[in-house]
């Protein structure tokens, strides 16, 4: 069964460093998303991406964040200068249509120290 894959599963980084979280969405999907989940809290929307551009972003997704689809299979989230409060689980998701179910990856646990 097709699935969304994310790497790495766990990333530890020092405050102020740049991190890149990687995702391979389901191959025939056209809509891609990043969400984050702070420990014990709900899943929060960060950004949606379609046709090689951001279609919507949340207040969390400030200038320190960026997304890219560098090739036909990968979808990345970059945090330019990490802060302690960026520590969370980051989930990538994809869907075939904006009004159909989104499938989530297993997440990357980002720990900023």
């Amino acid at each position: 069964e097709p699935e969304v894959t994310q790497t790495p599963s766990h990333q530890v980084t020092q405050m102020g460093q740049e991190v890149i979280l990687r995702c391979v969405p389901i191959s025939n999907h056209l809509y891609f998303y990043w969400y984050r989940q702070i420990l014990g809290q709900k899943v929060e929307f960060l950004v949606s991406f379609y046709n090689n551009e951001i279609s919507e972003k949340s207040e969390i997704f400030d200038d320190q964040f960026s997304v890219e689809r560098p090739d036909g299979s990968n979808f990345t989230l970059k945090i330019r200068s990490t802060k302690l409060e960026d520590s969370a689980m980051y989930f990538c998701a994809s869907s075939g249509h904006p009004n159909t179910e989104a499938f989530f990856g297993q997440g990357t646990r980002l720990t900023v120290v």
Partner: protein, 115 residues
């Protein structure tokens, strides 16, 4: 503001009993709803969805009910099993010409199944 919430943070049931997990949403314009299951350390897993033109939808051992009048969504799990223990989230999507696929998640209900 935008919010999707759940009535109970934790639900404890006996194995074999039926479980009902509730969700209240605030955006009356939302027209697509999904229930996700999240096990510890994993990503949200799709369970079942429903569109606003329906009141009820059934899957294998799960049923979702939608009451648009009071903006309420529920997930019913029949014959709850230990493997059903997880956190359950409802999520809503707002359809329209600017629909970007963004999902708004509720707070989550932890389902504990006692053997």
């Amino acid at each position: 503001g935008e919010s999707v919430g759940l009535h109970l943070p934790t639900l404890s049931v006996q194995e074999g009993d039926n479980s009902i997990i509730n969700c209240a949403y605030s955006n009356s314009a939302s027209d697509y709803f999904i229930w996700y299951k999240q096990e510890s350390g994993k990503g949200p897993q799709f369970i079942i969805d429903i569109r606003s033109n329906m009141d009820k939808r059934q899957g294998q051992r799960v049923t979702v009910l939608l009451n648009k009048t009071v903006k309420h969504l529920s997930l019913q799990i029949a014959a709850t099993q230990p493997g059903d223990s997880a956190v359950y989230f409802c999520a809503e999507n707002l359809h329209g010409s600017s629909n970007t696929g963004k999902l708004i998640f509720g707070q989550g209900t932890t389902l504990q199944v006692k053997p």
